[in-house]
């Protein structure tokens, strides 16, 4: 039991650090990080950085070299992630393509398509989004209704998707549709990729409870997709979706926002009933609980890394991270604002004001507990896939999709 790298891992770490040191500034403190004034500017900077990564062989590390990757081991990806977190480098925008669309294309696209689409994805030249959730199909994703109808070599798509991150700046999208409403729910789905500039695709931003708009609704009106852009067999869309979702689960990690350290620092500087808040027993108990959760997640991650280091694949065990950190964030955000008393709810224009951080956590936590698998779905996954408990009894099993009660007819 030790925290040290093997000699090979140490070499790799040094190589990664040296390259980063030569190409990016180190962070100056825990709160320091890459920020831009606008999304447009951010996208531009991400593309420049990704190109640089690609040229030096650090892009899409788990991908085959032929498509612009590095064929790295999982542990090398972890080490890279640890080293890159020390630097102020652009991030975001590309994860859905490289983390979810890429692996699906690798499994189901033709060789020609792979050669056409994967390298630009790796270089950051083309951005991808994922068109899965619908207003009536979230946790029960297979209940989706967006219709696809085949005529010769062309499919026509009609319907609506929701919660599509980055649809407004994406070049391509992966899409799952219902091709046979007479088949049982999971059997009548078909999977495609499409050009987001296709006629009939309309992207509308969703205003979130935070006021921001990171997601979109995407409307499809008679959108044409050539049959050559189908991924997997007709009716096999669910199987293809599962590949994507498995990769999504690996990508979703800790909820970002104020954590133990921020709450601890606040409590050590904040008055409560004439004393420092840290001297209050109920404050200390709460802080201890959050520290234990944070520490538990940190060392659970180390255990996962150890398994990777031995060459094992990470299992659904990592599902606990989001459940624990999302709820912890919600509690810490509430606690932080509470310590600031009435002022805690006042909006501030100051960039680093304490209350702003907790207010963002207040909004963010409500979202992270839902995104990428709700707490409830993740607990189903833990009980079924980790503990081996049976699936819930389903009212829609074996019934043609168009006869399943939907409650809003």
């Amino acid at each position: 039991m030790d925290f040290n790298d093997t000699p090979e891992e140490a070499n790799f770490r040094k190589e990664a650090y040296d390259w980063l040191k030569a190409n990016a500034p180190l962070k100056e403190g825990p709160k320091d990080g890459w920020r831009t004034a606008s999304e447009e500017e951010g996208l531009k900077e991400v593309k420049v950085w990704q190109k640089k990564l690609h040229e030096a062989g650090w892009a899409c590390m788990h991908w085959p070299k032929a498509y612009g990757g590095r064929e790295s081991t999982p542990i090398e990806r972890v080490i890279w992630g640890q080293e890159v977190s020390k630097f102020k480098v652009p991030g975001g925008y590309l994860e859905i393509g490289q983390g979810m669309a890429g692996p699906v294309m690798m499994m189901y696209a033709t060789e020609e398509q792979k050669e056409r689409y994967l390298p630009p994805m790796a270089k950051g030249e083309e951005i991808w989004c994922q068109l899965f959730s619908e207003p009536g199909a979230g946790s029960d994703l297979a209940g989706l209704k967006t219709k696809s109808v085949q005529e010769g070599d062309t499919w026509t798509i009609n319907g609506q998707k929701i919660w599509t991150s980055g649809a407004h700046f994406s070049d391509y999208g992966i899409l799952v549709t219902r091709s046979d409403p007479n088949a049982p729910k999971h059997k009548g789905l078909t999977y495609f990729f499409l050009d987001m500039k296709s006629p009939g695709v309309e992207v509308r931003p969703i205003k979130q409870i935070s006021g921001g708009a990171n997601f979109n609704e995407v409307y499809f009106t008679d959108v044409k997709i050539p049959d050559s852009q189908r991924l997997g067999a007709v009716g096999d869309g669910w199987k293809v979706s599962l590949t994507t979702l498995m990769n999504e689960r690996l990508a979703v990690g800790d909820a970002s926002g104020p954590d133990f350290q921020e709450a601890f620092t606040l409590a050590r500087g904040q008055d409560l009933n004439g004393k420092l808040a840290i001297e209050n027993d109920s404050v200390r108990e709460k802080l201890a609980d959050w520290y234990c959760q944070q520490s538990g997640l940190k060392f659970a991650k180390y255990r996962n890394i150890s398994a990777l280091s031995r060459g094992e694949t990470p299992g659904p065990q990592s599902s606990i991270t989001k459940v624990v950190s999302g709820n912890k964030l919600q509690e810490i955000a509430n606690f932080g604002m509470d310590l600031l008393d009435s002022g805690g709810i006042v909006r501030s224009d100051e960039k680093d004001a304490d209350q702003s951080m907790y207010q963002m956590g207040f909004y963010g936590a409500a979202g992270i507990r839902i995104a990428g698998g709700t707490d409830e779905i993740l607990k189903n996954i833990i009980s079924e896939q980790v503990l081996g408990m049976p699936q819930d009894m389903r009212a829609d099993k074996g019934i043609p999709f168009n006869e399943i009660p939907s409650g809003n007819k």
Binding site: M1, D2, F3, N4, D5, E9, I75, F264, R268, G269, I278, D281, R284, E285, L287, A288, D289, Y291, C292, Q293, S295, G296, L297, K298, F299, A300, Y302, R303, I305, S306, A307, S309, Q317, I320, V323, V324, E376, L378, K379, N380, I382, S383, E384, V386, L387, G388, M389, P390, Q391, D392, M393
Partner: protein
């Protein structure tokens, strides 16, 4: 990065588990609970024959000279199987006190017989229904002898010697007292976990031998023991989770296995989350204990709090999952429910350890 136990350590864990299963340790815990003997002497002897009591004691003092990681995996299995023996008192507390704070001759006098389990040691610390502190301990050491009294001393009625906390001049120290000494009075105390015996002890001018003094040494002893207690708690928590799952899978209601109801599945998922957090924190504690890391105080409090929470969650929800059967004397659920509370009380409460955790983080992160 290797944050797992080694193959050898995992093999030792497996040996311990199989041995305790073969010896029907859980059944023995029930026998002690229902019977008159304060512990299972036969199992205790077998545990010693397996070498478990000698694990972390250096070879020069009659031990096996393995390490704390080995002791941690054994502790987990003892917790899982509710072993009704004085292992925690003798090995995590008494042995550690002497090993860390005893003179060479004290070590020679006590450690070989702890390693062989010929002698049982116990830790006499609590004095009243409140957490012992540097200020409120009233047992006093003066001119070579101790006066005062202690309560709820685990294994107090079967111990051959005690590690006693007592006041001397202006500080609290650790003292070794022979249980046969003149002036000592030991009374068995029944507790809510009769599978582990407890006693109150009064000292009237009882001869005592001083170990290295100071409240910080008492805290170090508790920190070291806390890591090992946490592994017992972890093993117990996981056993409860497994029992709850097995029962739910086989129990049918409304025409189906109750394990298919989300109310039960989410309960089990919550247990799993608590156990995984505790396990990860316990590994951190094991690492800190085995390397004498400066983070030991933080790591020990973290794993103690986390493992106590996991065991509490799992032992109570195990009963709940069993429904009425979980409330019967016949089922084993209550044995774990009791042991969970006993272990949580034994070296200090949740509130105390949470406070210790925040204090140690304050020290580590001075403003």
């Amino acid at each position: 990065m290797n944050f797992e136990f080694s193959a050898d350590q995992m093999q030792l864990k497996d040996i311990a588990r199989k041995f305790l299963e073969k010896e029907e340790s859980v059944k023995r815990a029930r026998n002690v609970l229902e019977g008159d003997s304060p512990f299972d002497e036969e199992l205790w002897k077998q545990i010693a024959e397996m070498g478990f009591t000698a694990t972390a004691i250096p070879e020069e003092f009659g031990g096996l000279g393995l390490g704390y990681l080995e002791l941690c995996v054994i502790a987990e299995e003892l917790g899982r199987s509710l072993a009704p023996t004085p292992f925690s008192s003798s090995v995590y507390l008494a042995s550690e006190a002497i090993l860390q704070f005893g003179s060479d001759s004290t070590k020679q006098n006590y450690l070989p017989s702890i390693a062989s389990a010929e002698k049982i040691g116990a830790f006499a610390h609590s004095e009243a229904n409140t957490a012992p502190t540097e200020e409120n301990i009233s047992c006093e050491y003066k001119d070579g002898s101790i006066n005062g009294s202690k309560i709820a001393v685990a294994d107090g009625d079967i111990a051959d010697f005690f590690i006693v906390t007592a006041r001397t001049n202006d500080e609290i120290g650790l003292f070794v007292v022979n249980s046969q000494s003149k002036g000592i009075e030991i009374k068995s105390q029944s507790t809510l976990d009769p599978s582990r015996s407890h006693a109150s002890i009064s000292f009237k001018n009882v001869e005592a031998e001083a170990l290295d003094s100071g409240w910080s040494n008492v805290q170090t002893l508790l920190d070291r023991a806390a890591v090992l207690f946490s592994f017992e708690q972890l093993g117990g928590a996981e056993a409860c989770m497994d029992m709850a799952k097995e029962y739910a899978m086989g129990r049918y209601a409304f025409g189906r296995s109750i394990a298919s109801f989300q109310a039960i599945k989410h309960k089990l998922a919550d247990m799993y989350i608590a156990v995984e957090l505790a396990r990860s924190n316990c590994y951190y504690g094991a690492w800190a204990l085995s390397t004498n890391a400066p983070e030991l105080a933080t790591a020990a409090a973290t794993c103690r709090v986390s493992a106590s929470q996991a065991y509490h969650e799992c032992s109570k929800e195990n009963i709940q999952t069993h429904g009425g059967m979980g409330f019967t004397w016949e089922f084993d659920c209550h044995l774990y429910y009791r042991r969970c509370r006993q272990l949580a009380a034994n070296i200090g409460s949740q509130s105390v350890w949470k406070d210790k955790l925040i204090s140690s983080l304050e020290r580590a992160n001075q403003l």
